[in-house]
């Protein structure tokens, strides 16, 4: 059955003619239809997607274009696509069709990956549970009373339930890694600038980064290879060569120094998460890695800094949603100001409004220095902590999240405890570094636990090869939730 195969395995099967794109795509489209209760997808166009699969089969047969992969992937609804709505989990964009494709979509397309469907997400990527979506919450396939994590919750749930062989998400403060951890998947946030942000609806521009949510590090490498690289349309994208991630996968862990920040093994975190991570680290040691105690003394300030910087940027980024040129416009209003106010009041959900308010406040005259500038200073200090740490180690390891997936609704009335979910992921975004979350075990109730590996700037290959080495000797990443086998 195609859904029991990884993206890489399907790719190999396609190349040898063992299966067709059409068969694969039909299979996943059927599974999406049968599992709508998860609410993982917000838009799917069966006919159009099948036509893409048939095209891929045709060109593989007739033009012997073996580079053209012909594989469907799920795409977070934050990426602009011409063929499907791009609603970003928001009412204000619920009718929006982009006239252009995001660079990520173009690159996927060039390598023969096509969009299986657009996945649900927290509104404008603001959330850690996928409960802020205008289209309703996504359920965690491991336990449907639990959240899948967020903001790329739909992407993670889709791959976890094997409704898609792989998915693309975005990560501003943990939005790829945290849902990957909650759903038992491999989620990679590349270095800031590695993948173009062009066509990705901006949440916090200095932190946003696209990345894959997959079954394995190998799959992540395959998709990163396709998406990474300079884009002249994004001034923050990096104009440096993209390494061959796939061929670096088997570098192994021999003599790799794995830094363990004592701040990440805080006794306040879930003991089951802690013990699982400790077991996983022993496994890394067996594979040749050397564990080194390190410190990230200021990482604790990460959440505070993040929740100033990200909302500040968001408050400005979301100003374009004014009901004037596209998106939701209030049906009745008395004048221009009233139109703005009503359109935005109706169009945005509570969490988005909360962050716009926080951000506007942090940037306003008289508060700018105390909040925004201070947060930027903290950001530099945190980045500096990482630079210091990487003098002692090659990679940093720890838990991705302080707990496993929490119950739906649990943190809805308590934004701060919701925000604290990102305590281990946020510092990585602030420093612009690459990091991966990979499945490292389960708690007693059967919920997945994620281990995070953080690398120096642009060292995605090192992270991927370490993760791959671990996945070669463990099978956590191959586990499929019972109802979806």
């Amino acid at each position: 059955m195609p859904h029991r195969q990884s993206l890489s395995a399907l790719n190999r099967m396609l190349a040898t003619g063992g299966i067709s794109s059409t068969e694969i795509t039909t299979h996943f489209l059927d599974r999406i239809e049968k599992n709508q209760q998860l609410n993982a997808f917000v838009s799917v166009d069966r006919e159009q997607t099948l036509a893409r699969a048939q095209q891929a089969d045709h060109s593989r047969r007739n033009e012997r274009n073996l580079n053209l992969k012909g594989l469907p992937v799920a795409l977070k609804d934050i990426f602009c696509t011409q063929d499907l709505l791009t609603s970003c989990g928001s009412r204000i964009l619920s009718n929006f069709v982009s006239p252009y494709d995001a660079t990520v979509v173009e690159r996927l397309d060039k390598d023969g990956f096509f969009v299986l469907g657009k996945t649900n997400m927290d509104e404008f990527a603001m959330g850690s549970s996928n409960e802020s979506s205008y289209f309703g919450p996504v359920l965690n396939p491991w336990n449907t009373a639990r959240v899948p994590g967020g903001s790329s919750g739909g992407s993670a749930a889709a791959v976890s339930a094997r409704l898609a062989p792989a998915a693309i998400g975005t990560d501003t403060g943990g939005s790829i890694r945290q849902p990957a951890a909650f759903c038992g998947l491999t989620g990679l946030k590349p270095s800031y600038g590695r993948i173009s942000r062009y066509g990705m609806v901006a949440y916090a521009s200095s932190l946003d980064q696209a990345g894959p949510i997959t079954q394995s590090a190998e799959d992540a490498a395959l998709l990163l290879q396709t998406m990474a690289g300079f884009d002249s349309r994004d001034s923050t994208s990096l104009d440096t060569a993209v390494p061959d991630y796939l061929s670096a996968l088997n570098t192994g862990l021999e003599n790799v120094r794995l830094g363990i920040p004592k701040e990440f093994l805080d006794p306040s975190i879930d003991p089951e998460v802690l013990s699982t991570i400790e077991t996983a680290l022993q496994e890394f040691e067996k594979l040749g890695a050397k564990l080194v105690d390190i410190e990230l003394p200021n990482s604790g300030a990460g959440i505070a800094a993040y929740y100033v910087i990200a909302p500040a940027e968001a408050s400005s980024n979301l100003s374009k949603f004014d009901g004037v040129r596209y998106g939701h416009r209030a049906s009745e209003f008395s004048d221009l100001l009233d139109m703005y106010e009503k359109s935005r009041a109706e169009g945005f959900g509570d969490e988005v409004k909360r962050r716009i308010l926080i951000g506007s406040y942090a940037l306003s005259a008289g508060y700018y220095d105390a909040y925004y500038l201070k947060a930027q200073k903290v950001r530099r200090i945190i980045a500096n902590d990482f630079s210091q740490a990487f003098k002692q180690c090659d990679l940093i390891a720890g838990p991705t999240t302080p707990s496993t997936a929490f119950p739906l609704g649990k943190n809805l009335d308590d934004p701060v405890s919701m925000y604290l979910n990102d305590v281990f992921t946020v510092p990585v975004n602030l420093a612009g570094l690459p990091a991966i979350s990979l499945p490292a075990g389960f708690d007693q109730s059967g919920l997945p636990i994620g281990l995070q590996l953080i690398g120096p700037y642009l060292k995605e290959a090192n992270i991927l090869s370490a993760a791959h080495a671990y996945q070669k000797v463990t099978d956590w990443h191959q586990r499929i939730p019972g109802d979806y086998e």
């Binding site: 066509g199 521009s205 100003s319 374009k320 040129r325 221009l336 700018y368």
Partner: protein, 478 residues
């Protein structure tokens, strides 16, 4: 009676004449159908990102170099946040804390009246679109063609003390940006706009009064009128025991009055912060040096050279060098005219300027080329035609084009200097007007002019008046 002194600072918006917009590839061409020159970036679709237009950066740096300013090696783009329908992103990308150009100076007047006007800064930013409220019923229209057009905002210190000084400063900047070819200077199309900050104080005071800001002044004439009006309004206000309120006012040219646009209580908090989509703008020393070496001769230097090289009066030199196109035209005309700068000056400042003004044409679209005008001057010089005939030929060239020599030939306008032929005509006229001839012989020299006129008439204006005079004088000498 109190003697008031006005204090004026100007913010000049110079639209940089790049081919494409400051952060997108859309064309900046003026006058297209609404919203046909606005791409995804300009209309702020979700997911779009700005990319810096390097030519705009070079133009800004060039301006800085020409005013003796500092070009900041690293400058930063910031977002100025406010909602308005013609501002698609909900923020304007501008430079706030660190502009590309800092400092600089423009000199106005000369000698005893020389004043140095300091330029505080010049920064790059994007223009907004335009709102249209007329002719659409209860709706308003938004045209985003202009959105994203590069602007250089030149901010002066409050160094000007009269509307006349403000205008002189503004003209200098206008001339300079045209010299540097960074702006077409077209005020009607809004390529060159100005806001003014004005306050008054008792002459001799060192503290500044409360200022008002006048927005969107779009012709030199209106600016001067608006400034005069606003200064008088402030004086009247204070002399009546009132106080000036810090506010933005709009000048209504139809009514010749200013009225408040928005008060301070509604002052925006623009929530400036560095734009995370654009890395700091870096300009390397090598690029600055390259731009410095590429600077053209600037108006003041050219004016001095004109006085020197062409022996012009200062006023003529200033008039000819205020606009780079006219100065270029003049120099080419002189070259074609074999160096006759005096006649060239008269023609360029006279007939040519009059014709350009009449048809509202810029010098670049002059219907008579400097080559033709030079040739025409040569023909005056070698006495082939008279100055009067030359004016006639100039009109012909202006209206119908063509070649100077061919027109002279075709219309038989060549001046008659051949004395044999002329003498015959003079004889004929003398016999026809014998009475007048006698009067001249009896010493009534004024009548000579009448006879000259008759000869000119007889020859259809082609006779060389000097030669006619000579012949007549000789024949009628007592």
């Amino acid at each position: 009676m109190t003697r008031w002194e006005s204090v004026i600072g100007l913010e000049v918006h110079v639209q940089l004449q790049t081919q494409s917009k400051i952060f997108s590839g859309a064309s900046t061409h003026y006058g297209a159908e609404p919203n046909t020159q606005a791409c995804a970036v300009d209309i702020a679709l979700p997911g779009i990102l700005p990319v810096m237009n390097r030519t705009a950066v070079q133009m800004a740096a060039t301006f800085g170099l020409a005013t003796g300013a500092t070009i900041n090696h690293r400058s930063v783009f910031a977002r100025k946040n406010y909602f308005y329908p013609d501002l698609p992103k909900g923020y304007q990308i501008s430079q706030y804390e660190i502009p590309i150009v800092s400092g600089g100076q423009i000199n106005i007047g000369e000698g005893d009246t020389l004043r140095k006007i300091r330029i505080t800064r010049a920064h790059l930013e994007e223009d907004a679109g335009k709102s249209q409220h007329d002719g659409l019923g209860k709706m308003s229209g938004i045209d985003l063609n202009r959105a994203g057009t590069p602007l250089l905002e030149v901010v002066s210190e409050p160094d000007m003390r009269s509307p006349a000084e403000a205008i002189a400063y503004l003209r200098k900047i206008h001339s300079l940006v045209r010299y540097l070819k960074i702006c077409d200077g077209n005020m009607q199309e809004g390529s060159f706009r100005c806001d003014a900050n004005i306050s008054i104080r008792v002459e001799g005071d060192s503290e500044l009064g409360i200022r008002t800001e006048l927005k969107n002044l779009n012709s030199f004439r209106f600016i001067e009128r608006a400034l005069n009006h606003e200064i008088q309004r402030q004086i009247d206000l204070i002399e009546d025991g009132g106080q000036v309120v810090q506010e933005t006012r709009l000048y209504d040219s139809d009514r010749d009055q200013t009225r408040p646009m928005r008060g301070k209580e509604e002052a925006h908090d623009y929530r400036y912060f560095p734009d995370p989509d654009l890395p700091p703008l870096v300009i390397e020393d090598a690029e600055v040096e390259y731009l410095r070496a590429s600077l053209p001769e600037l108006p003041d230097a050219r004016c001095d050279r004109f006085i020197d090289t062409y022996q012009l009066r200062k006023s003529d030199a200033q008039q000819l060098t205020a606009d780079r196109g006219i100065a270029d035209y003049f120099e080419e005309t002189v070259r074609e005219a074999g160096g006759n700068s005096k006649i060239a000056t008269n023609w360029v400042t006279g007939d040519l300027m009059a014709a350009l003004n009449r048809d509202s044409l810029p010098i670049e679209q002059s219907r008579v080329s400097p080559i033709s005008l030079g040739k025409l001057i040569c023909r005056i010089n070698d006495q082939s035609i008279s100055g009067k005939i030359a004016k006639d030929i100039f009109s012909d060239l202006w209206d119908n084009g063509g070649d100077v020599d061919q027109i002279i030939e075709a219309r038989g306008l060549k001046q008659m200097s051949d004395s044999v032929e002329l003498e015959q005509i003079v004889e004929k006229i003398l016999s026809k007007f014998s009475e007048q001839a006698d009067q001249v012989r009896q010493g009534q020299e004024k009548v000579l002019g009448f006879l000259v006129g008759q000869v000119m008439k007889e020859t259809g204006g082609k006779a060389n008046p000097k030669a006619v005079n000579e012949i007549l004088s000789r024949k009628l000498s007592p």
